[in-house]
């Protein structure tokens, strides 16, 4: 019997979503990012098209990190006191497709920055770079709800992505995004049913499906990467199978998850069995990113510029096989 290539007949494709708005669309971005639209499992060109390449956001914190290992700090130390300069470096030198700004200063356990301060930071970053933005709160629900309307307003019309709506806390962020023309991130704790539920909740509030990015939380290599891998894979399968509430493009947090793992930063003296430290963190971040790409993620939030270069090259290689 001759061999025939087994192809799946998917009934749907991943939702296509554009982040950022140029002047023509009422914003000030000089470039936008479009993701999604995949017609197959990741990079299976014999089966369907991958119309848009996965993109890489570099993360910018709005105050200097205190515990970054040297391998990472050496690339950012000169700019980390100024989020605008940091963002600029990430775009100009490291080629970020977009900036993921995390408002850690708002944390009530830390600096407890005001909504005005956060909004001012956003304005400065928007002025410093032309790429689209993802804006993430500090993780404290009450505080995030207090600052998010102001942050959203500061970026009105720019089609930024606001993070994150959860099952228990979605109304403020959703209302802000609707008012100012932004997208939101739907976050769920490695649970596809909760992910779907969040999609239902925010679309019930009037959020359109092409203004949503899915985020299933993440684990670094060796620390739960397989849970995220399988949830992302299942979500892609559900999307191709026609589940409209799971059809949006997916985001994965790579940098912070990979670098908080000891394998990424512990010295060879402390852990001789792990080998030389020099490249270990970069390897850890690149490996973590690779899994999410192959599972079906569209937007990777990364930290180390060298890991970014290697992952970008891998994306090129994966897309190289596609007929144009």
């Amino acid at each position: 019997m001759p061999f025939t290539v087994p192809k799946e007949r998917w009934t749907a494709e991943v939702q296509t979503t554009t982040i950022g708005a140029t002047e023509a669309d009422g914003g000030t971005r000089t470039s936008t990012v479009t993701i999604g639209g995949d017609q197959s499992l990741p990079f299976l060109h014999f089966e369907g098209r991958t119309p848009y390449r996965p993109v890489i956001a570099l993360e910018v914190l709005d105050e200097a990190p205190t515990q970054w290992p040297d391998a990472l700090a050496e690339h950012y130390r000169d700019v980390w006191d100024d989020p605008a300069a940091w963002a600029q470096k990430a775009v100009d030198e490291f080629g970020a497709d977009l900036i993921c700004l995390r408002l850690v200063s708002a944390d009530p356990q830390g600096t407890d920055a005001s909504a005005d301060d956060c909004a001012a930071t956003i304005t400065s970053v928007l002025e410093a770079v032309g790429v689209p933005l993802i804006i993430w709160g500090c993780g404290d629900d009450d505080k995030d709800n207090a600052i998010m309307p102001f942050c959203s307003q500061a970026a009105a019309g720019e089609r930024v992505v606001l993070g994150a709506a959860t099952e228990d806390n979605y109304k403020t962020i959703c209302a802000s995004a609707l008012a100012d023309g932004h997208l939101i991130i739907n976050q769920s704790p490695l649970d596809i049913n909760i992910q779907k539920q969040v999609s239902i909740l925010v679309t019930d509030m009037g959020m359109s499906t092409d203004n949503i990015i899915l985020y299933q939380t993440t684990g670094g290599l060796g620390y739960g990467v397989e849970y995220a891998y399988s949830i992302i894979e299942r979500t892609r399968l559900a999307a191709l199978g026609g589940d409209k509430m799971l059809q949006m493009p997916m985001l994965s947090i790579v940098g912070s998850e990979a670098w908080r793992v000891k394998e990424a930063w512990q010295s060879e003296e402390e852990a001789p069995e792990w080998g030389p430290l020099e490249k270990r963190g970069i390897i850890w971040e690149a490996a973590t990113a690779t899994f999410f790409l192959h599972a079906g993620s569209h937007l990777l939030v990364m930290w180390h510029p060298e890991a970014v270069n290697h992952v970008r090259q891998h994306i090129d290689e994966l897309l190289a096989g596609q007929q144009t």
Binding site: M1, P2, F3, V5, P6, L41, F43, L44, H45, F46, L221, G222, Y223, G224, V225, E226, Y229, S230, E233, R234, L237, R260, K262, E263, Q266, E273, W274, G275, P276, L277, E278, K279, R280, I282, I283, W284, A286, A287, T290, F291, H294, A295, E306, A307, H310, V311, Q313, H314, E317, L318, L319, A320, G321, Q322
Partner: protein
């Protein structure tokens, strides 16, 4: 061609006796169709029906053994395309490439390094699996003799020259090495070598169609242990070919593709090679060949393999009980956590990183993390108190003070009542343990004195 569940059902007794472990014959037929059950689980199936179903009830992918004894490597035997559907069986073997042109000292050093390389993770030890001798100067027979002496791991012999292969097999065939590879050009010679020496054989086709034909021919020639290589080496082509072969095997039950595959790590530097290795570990080869030899890179690959091949239905667990970190004594703190291995080993590692001497009391939560177990009511004041009573910690320490994970602070009152211990709420994240003990712990327990 794969039979559908209905085709299979027609051949079953249709008595719904349940003796196969599935309530109805139809449900059993569905499991058979998915390769998740085997026909011999049905005690009442007739011989005729068994013959009719033989093809479809055979496992969709053969398990192939390379090497002998303690270090024998089993690969293949997969039943699904996605790990969440069931699990991936037989973690892929990592083969370390050794070129025959290396100076002998360097070569034996490399083999030794690969054989001895081990990593401890989640309470288990993981190493590498094969030494792949790549014949780049025609010295394979000579080098195979040395390697067979030096290597505790099984060998893989890489040469397209049947003469060299015969020479190598003559000195190392009893270790059941993997022959790599039979191609369209050397097919007759290589397949006869595989038969003569009873060794598993890699079939390399130029593209999928040729691979399919060669594999068919090898099966006809009576060779049972095959490993497949489509010749793809670029990441995009590799991903597609690996997927097509796996899919054809699992979903179409295409016999010539019902074998494990082999993949070759590509890339220019260490980081690229790890990326390529991770792609291969995820999708889908049974053997991943690399020339990487440094611990940092191989740690990542071995960890990646452990993650992908972890059974998603059975999280790795540690036994419930009282564990030691450092050298604890009667005055050392007692940390409470769950038996999900990732949780336990993270706590253990963070406590060690903080140079603590401490006890860790592990509660059986069926392998779930602190918050998941709490939500599922497996990590409650009652289960924790019961573990404290039963694990013997009460005889080991003078002061009854337990440190509870910050995420379940709400349990502290009930736990004090249930156990009679004093409870201190620790950090939410395990990573906060060193700082917590450096700056807060003494002060917090002062009241209990």
């Amino acid at each position: 061609m794969a039979l559908t569940a209905m085709d299979i059902y027609k051949n079953l007794p249709k008595t719904n006796c349940g003796e196969c472990g599935v309530p109805t014959c139809l449900a059993f037929a569905m499991k058979l169709a998915q390769g998740q059950a085997s026909l011999d689980q049905c005690p009442h199936v007739t011989e005729e029906a068994a013959a009719a179903l033989a093809g479809s009830s055979a496992p969709p992918m053969k398990t192939v053994t390379i090497g002998t004894g303690d270090h024998a490597l089993e690969i293949g035997g997969q039943t699904v395309l996605f790990r969440h559907e069931e699990t991936f069986y037989h973690p892929c073997g990592v083969a370390i490439q050794v070129n025959t042109s290396l100076p002998e000292g360097e070569m034996t050093e490399r083999i030794k390094t690969a054989c001895e390389m081990e990593f401890d993770r989640v309470g288990m030890t993981f190493g590498l699996d094969l030494i792949a001798l790549y014949d780049d100067d025609g010295r394979l027979p000579e080098v195979a003799a040395v390697a067979a002496e030096e290597s505790s791991l099984p060998l893989m012999l890489m040469s397209d020259d049947p003469q060299a292969m015969r020479g190598a097999l003559e000195v190392c065939a009893e270790g059941r090495p993997l022959i790599c590879a039979a191609t369209a050009d050397n097919f007759e010679e290589m397949t006869s070598l595989a038969k003569e020496f009873e060794c598993p054989l890699v079939i390399r086709g130029e593209g999928m169609e040729q691979l399919y034909e060669l594999s068919e021919k090898a099966i006809e020639a009576g060779i049972e242990d095959l490993v497949l290589d489509s010749s793809a080496r670029e990441p995009s082509a590799v991903l597609q070919d690996q997927t097509i072969i796996r899919r054809a095997a699992i979903k179409e039950k295409a016999e010539p593709f019902g074998f494990p595959t082999i993949g070759f790590v590509g890339g220019d530097d260490e980081v690229d090679k790890v990326i390529s290795g991770c792609e291969l570990i995820a999708k889908y080869p049974g053997i991943v060949v690399t020339d990487l030899i440094t611990r940092d890179a191989l740690l990542a690959l071995v960890t990646a393999r452990l993650n992908i091949y972890t059974d998603p239905q059975k999280p790795i667990q540690v036994e419930s009980g009282a564990y030691e970190v450092g050298e604890p004594d009667a005055s050392s703190p007692v940390l409470i956590t769950t038996n999900f291995s990732l949780t336990y080993y993270t706590v253990e590692a963070d406590a060690s990183a903080g140079n603590l001497d401490a006890w860790i009391v592990v509660v059986d939560t069926e392998g779930t993390s602190v918050l998941t177990a709490w939500a599922a009511e497996d990590f409650t004041a009652e289960t924790i108190a019961k573990t404290i009573k039963e694990c013997g910690i009460e005889e080991k320490v003078e002061k009854k003070i337990a440190v509870l994970p910050g995420g379940v602070a709400v349990l502290s009152g009930d736990l004090e009542q249930e156990s009679g211990w004093n409870v201190v709420v620790g950090p939410r994240e395990s990573a906060g343990i060193p700082t917590f003990f450096k700056t807060e712990y003494e002060q917090r327990i002062a009241d209990f004195n």
